[in-house]
């Protein structure tokens, strides 16, 4: 009997060790090459859990960017090494992961997260430790308000919501819209509010607002309530895994109006889950993989070659985040202490990224990015429109200081 217990414990332990990811397997021969050794950068992300597809493409793109940078000589002769922590798509775990990266691994900067709620949980920890953090794709404004060490690569929810409202109201001439919110996510409630405010300010009407909880499987009750208000379009600022189900159930209830959403829809699984129900629906996004811009094409080809998958917007933003960080490290001239690195990142201007030209403003957010509208057409994603920032399209400017970060000079 005792022996059985011992065998069981041994088996359990063996399994536990097997389950551990091989942390150091990524860069086996990345030893010091002339500089002061490797620069350790932390990454926390949703590698498992509800948002695993977001976390995985973000991680892939970061590794692609870092290997490119290292392949071109690294930063001032030093290679970058990425230490990755999984936060299981949970905000609490994100805080733990970042604490571990900073306290145990002594990373010089942190990249992550996708979900705003996770970034909001992790940002104060980076701020208190004076470690710069770049979130590639959290769109809630509160993230960078956590302090002057917190940066982001994507446009914000207020910009995204307002631009979408302007596109619907002024370009498509839509007047009556219903909103369906995932009330468990900061991202969804934030985007819904900014969209609604902008849309009503432009003379549109929000005819109905309903909410659900992420992970629900039945949305028929909310959709039935929305159906009675007869909207021309339903705005659903939620994540892809719920959107597919919502679309199917809306069609099942005989509701054929288009559905629209934000960048949370972006995923190869969107169409897989939603299928025909999503035909004619569209969402705002950061970049489109079919763009003819050479920087975009280069990135898409390399990513496809390495991972045999089309990079989503999260990958594009993560790629830009890693490259902006490396570029700032170069300009900081070998110093990797928090304050110096922070200054260098903050000074990023005219950086030619995959998701457009990146100019970080005084509030550490990129200014005047282009919104692409992606539509599901014939079971494929197609580019429907590009929404430029309101007023003059001053997005390009004159690129002054920086290059693409892959050249590896100095």
């Amino acid at each position: 009997m005792k022996r059985n217990v011992l065998v069981a414990i041994t088996c359990a332990l063996a399994l536990a060790f097997l389950g551990c990811p091989p942390k150091n397997a990524e860069t086996p021969n990345a030893t010091t090459t002339g500089g002061d050794g490797e620069i350790l950068v932390g990454e926390y992300g949703s590698l498992t859990g509800n948002q695993a597809t977001f976390g995985t493409s973000t991680h892939n793109a970061i590794m692609l960017a870092v290997d490119e940078i290292n392949g071109a000589g690294g930063v001032n002769g030093r290679k970058i090494k990425v230490q990755t922590e999984d936060d299981q798509s949970k905000a609490e775990e994100a805080a733990n992961a970042v604490t571990k990266l900073i306290a145990q691994n002594n990373v010089v900067a942190v990249l992550g997260e996708v979900a705003s709620s996770s970034s909001i949980a992790a940002a104060p920890i980076c701020q208190n430790n004076k470690i710069p953090m770049i979130t590639p794709s959290s769109t809630n404004p509160a993230v960078t308000k956590k302090g002057d060490y917190i940066f982001r690569m994507c446009f914000l929810d207020d910009y995204q919501g307002a631009s979408m409202a302007r596109y619907l109201r002024q370009t498509l001439g839509i007047k009556n819209v219903a909103i369906l919110i995932d009330n468990k996510s900061d991202y969804s409630t934030g985007l819904a509010k900014y969209f609604g405010d902008a849309f009503t300010a432009m003379g549109g009407t929000i005819v109905g607002t309903q909410s659900f909880t992420s992970g629900d499987s039945d949305f028929r009750a909310q959709l039935t309530a929305i159906r009675t208000t007869k909207p021309e379009l339903i705005y659903i600022p939620a994540y892809y895994n719920d959107v597919g189900q919502i679309a199917i159930q809306a069609r099942d209830l005989g509701m054929n109006m288009p559905l629209a959403g934000g960048d949370g829809w972006e995923s190869p699984k969107l169409i897989e889950i939603g299928g025909k129900a999503l035909e004619g629906c569209f969402y705002s996004n950061h970049y489109f993989f079919g763009d003819t811009n050479p920087i975009v094409r280069n990135f898409v080809e390399k990513y496809k070659q390495r991972y045999s998958a089309t990079p989503d917007a999260l990958a594009a933003l993560a790629y830009d985040a890693a490259r902006v960080l490396a570029d700032a490290m170069k300009r900081a001239g070998g110093k990797t202490d928090g304050p110096t690195l922070r200054e260098a990142i903050a000074a990023t201007k005219g950086f030619a990224g995959v998701t457009g030209t990146i100019n970080l403003g005084p509030d550490r957010n990129p200014e005047g990015k282009t919104l692409v509208i992606v539509e599901v057409k014939g079971g494929e994603l197609t580019l429907k429109a590009k929404v430029e920032p309101e007023g003059a399209p001053a997005a390009t400017g004159t690129a002054t200081t920086t290059t693409t970060g892959t050249t590896g000079t100095q």
């Binding site: 498992t48 499987s217 028929r220 009750a221 597919g244």
Partner: protein, 304 residues
């Protein structure tokens, strides 16, 4: 009016799935006085068997493009029932039978352990990301005076009713059912009367798990996004349904499940849609306060 009918229909369709799961809870409780918390996860396994079998069958029968037919749907349903039935048997044989004479809390904790094993084992085996349940049957819209439904909802309802009727027949119309009721009434006396209690209990687990498999397949049809943690919420709500109807009472579980489904549909369609999940548990608490034995349960004071 139209909205009312639509919500009612949606609620009954969702509720019939809760009812099928609730039957498993209530049968096991009736016979063993054990809340089998792993039951919601057996439901999940049922869905995943359907996912893999459905995908495979549709490729075999209709070529690489896939397709659907009622025959392959029936085979998938049967296969899922067999796998879950075996799982239910194994579960009882390995985890609960050795604890038959242990304090009841030990079995309860074991049930929670099995539940976690299935959930996180499922994440390990199937992967944590959501999967899309295959289309086993072609879907049609049916519009009756503005109330729109699909043949899926009707199938869910129809299949659920058929299986509930079969269960009703087994419990009240067969010799085995009489044995089951006898064991439920008094375990020791039944065994003294020569009823093979272990076999009756195992079979009860098998039947309950098969019903969970049916619920899993129907859920996959109606809500085609499945993942290893999908059993948690429906499992809890089915448990509430079973308590609402009077745990241990078979018709009570059905009525409880339908009630929870309909109430949820109405709450979800009102402006309190935020609180949809909370409502189910508020109902549970209220019932326990005023009618501890549920709507159909008989109140039996503990005899000292």
């Amino acid at each position: 009016m139209q909205e009312l009918l639509q919500n009612l229909l949606n609620g009954i369709a969702a509720g019939s799935i809760y009812a099928l799961i609730a039957l498993g809870y209530t049968m096991v409780y009736g016979i063993l006085k054990l809340i089998n918390f792993a039951h919601g996860d057996v439901f999940m396994i049922g869905s995943f068997v359907g996912f893999y079998a459905g995908g495979w069958f549709s490729k075999q029968l209709h070529g690489a493009t896939g397709g659907s037919s009622p025959a392959s749907a029936a085979v998938v349903l049967l296969l899922s029932m067999i796998v879950c039935g075996a799982l239910g048997y194994l579960n009882e044989r390995v985890a609960y039978r050795p604890l038959r004479n242990a304090p009841r809390i030990a079995s309860l904790i074991t049930a929670i352990g099995i539940s976690f094993l299935l959930e996180y084992g499922g994440q390990f085996v199937f992967g944590p990301d959501p999967k899309f349940f295959p289309t086993l049957i072609e879907k049609h819209l049916i519009n009756i005076g503005g109330v729109v439904t699909t043949n899926y909802q009707l199938i869910v309802l129809g299949v659920a009713i058929v299986f509930m009727a079969i269960l009703q027949y087994i419990v009240y119309g067969t010799k085995f059912g009489r044995a089951m009721r006898a064991v439920s009434f008094n375990f020791e006396t039944a065994s003294l009367m020569g009823i093979p209690t272990d076999r009756v209990i195992s079979t009860t687990f098998v039947i309950g798990s098969m019903l969970a498999a049916v619920a899993g397949i129907l859920f996959g049809l109606a809500y085609p996004k499945i993942d290893p943690l999908m059993g948690v919420m429906p499992g809890l709500k089915a448990f509430v349904s079973a308590v609402l109807g009077g745990i241990g009472n078979v018709p009570g579980a059905v009525v409880g499940g339908l009630l929870i489904g309909v109430i949820e549909a109405f709450v979800g369609g009102s402006r309190f849609s935020n609180y949809r999940d909370a409502i189910a548990f508020v109902i549970l608490i209220v019932i326990l306060l005023f009618r501890p034995s549920g709507l159909f349960g008989k109140y039996q004071p503990e005899k000292v």
